[in-house]
Amino acid sequence: MKKRSNRLPGRKGSKLFKAMQNVVSILLFLLIWELLVRVLHIKEAFLCTPSSAIYHLFWPQPDADYHWIVNISATLKEFVISFAITAAGAIFLAVLISWSKAIQNVLMPAFIFINSLPVIAIAPILLIWIGYGLKTNIIIAFLVSFFPMLLDTITGLNAQDKQLLDLVNYLHANRWQILFKIQIPGAMPYIFAGLKISSTLCIMGVIVGELIASDVGLGYVIVNAQSTMDTPPMFASLIMMSMLGWGMYLAINLLERLLMPWSFLKDRVDA
């Protein structure tokens, strides 16, 4: 939704200004939250202050040990594996499907149909089939995030300039050349849009898996803390999850910049 800012020297100041503005309004939000909780004497069992959430993250508590390192690495592992399978699997399958119009005509309606279903509802069935643990959470996350990614990639592979395809056909380009020189570069914007959507869905899938059945991970920390009405670790866990999400978002953006330098170049010329 935000327009990509460019790197022209004249705009750099305004970009910095905008970033500052964002930081200030977020800090303001946290400050209001902190003050409200303190001034209204809201009980910690109901809502904790942001500062105590952060405090719980970095200073070990005498009454409870949350094993942050273990839980964070479990969630991170689930997230990275499921996201990698989603991304690689969806792109691979999309390429296969895009080669045959007939297969596409049969499978696309099915994929669109599945994509409109509440896939998360399958989680309890997976728990019976596979049992509890990391594997189940990975599969839940994969199922939740796979179809949006697949549909985006197929759309991208299909959305090619017809004249360009005619031209290279005329020049006897083979299937691989068309794929690597035209289809995949052309599909990049769609692929990255898909990656951004499915990375958030992946996190959601992992967390839902951890919430409903798990004995490790950030989602487990939340459920566990809820049962003792201990809000600071819940918010601390939430902060860590958001960090994971932001980290992945930044990584995808960086990759986008590396793999599609032309799209950023175009912005600069436009401005």
């Binding site: 939704m1 935000k2 503005q21 964002n22 309004s25 977020i26 939000f29 069992a45 109901f46 049969v106 309606p109 099915a110 409109s116 279903l117 509440p118 998360i120 509802a121 399958i122 989680a123 309890p124 069935i125 728990l127 019976i128 089939w129 958030t200 996190i203 959601m204 967390i207 839902v208 919430l211 409903i212 950030l218 989602g219 939340i222 459920v223 803390a225 809820q226 009405m229 809000t231 819940m234 866990s237 939430l238 999850m241 958001s242 999400g245 932001w246 978002y249």
Partner: protein, 263 residues
């Protein structure tokens, strides 16, 4: 009349055939390989758990459907009203936009589903907590899409009406809101799925009634047929909501139909 029927038959016939074939193969595989009921139920067993009087009475399908459907509809309505109202406010006032948007963008990037246990703590195990969870995760797509639609308007058009002394109200009703409708509906479609997901996950974590709750209790009993029946009902509810939205879309944006027909 006959032509219309033929067109409909052609449009839905293939899909219907595909679904029937899929169910047929499923049934044949389950029967043929003697797959146990607790591993994978056959479609017939799923149907029986839905319609067989004794089984249906045990599962109280109508109560579950009413609870979950109520949650989905309530959360969807709240999402729509709140999302559009806030989007209008943000698009109307620049200071509000500057103040709220960064916070909204940050809140949106939080995996909101993780707040579900907290909401259960705050609002209890009843229907309200599920509605709040569903609204929380469904709210942002509507809000952000509508804001984009309201603000991302053709500059030339704005200059023109400004020159013609259009009031702010007129710019909103004649230009910004029609411009926002396609974005709004795109957001609403995402939100519809999110409302269903939020209600289900809320019920998974803690609830007394509803299809999500039934899924969990059937899981404890390894009653696969009931679980698949829940899945079918949830899918139907999701698809119904989707269908309603696309009908509303056609009503609200008649010009889109015209474009589609011209093609």
């Amino acid at each position: 009349m006959k032509r219309k029927f033929l067109r409909l038959a052609k449009k839905y016939g293939i899909k219907l055939l595909g679904i029937t074939a899929f169910l047929g193969i499923w049934q044949a595989v389950v029967v043929g390989f003697k797959i146990k009921k607790y591993v994978l139920p056959s479609p017939v067993q799923v149907l029986r758990s839905l319609f067989d009087p004794t089984l249906a009475a045990k599962n109280q399908w109508w109560t579950q459907i009413a609870v979950t459907g109520g949650e989905i509809l309530a959360s969807f309505t709240v999402t729509l009203v709140l999302g559009v109202a806030l989007a209008l406010l943000i698009a109307w006032s620049k200071p509000l936009n500057k103040l709220l948007m960064p916070v909204i963008v940050v809140l949106n990037s939080i995996p909101k589903i993780a707040l579900a246990p907290l909401f259960l703590l705050w609002f209890g195990y009843g229907i309200q907590s599920k509605i709040f969870v569903a609204v929380l995760i469904a709210f942002f797509p509507v809000l952000l899409n509508t804001v984009t639609g309201l603000i991302d308007v053709d500059e030339n058009l704005l200059d023109l009406v400004h020159y013609l002394n259009a009031s702010k109200w007129q710019t909103f009703t004649k230009i910004r809101i029609p411009n926002a409708l396609p974005h709004l509906f795109a957001g609403v479609k995402i939100s519809a799925t999110m409302c269903v997901v939020g209600s289900i996950v809320g019920e998974f974590i803690a609830s007394k009634k509803g299809l999500g709750r039934l899924l969990r209790s059937a899981q404890a009993n390894i009653d696969m047929a009931t679980m698949f029946a829940c899945l079918v009902l949830l899918s139907i509810m999701g698809l119904l909501l989707f269908w309603l939205i696309s009908k509303a879309e056609k009503l609200c944006m008649p010009w889109m139909n015209r474009e589609a027909e011209e093609e």
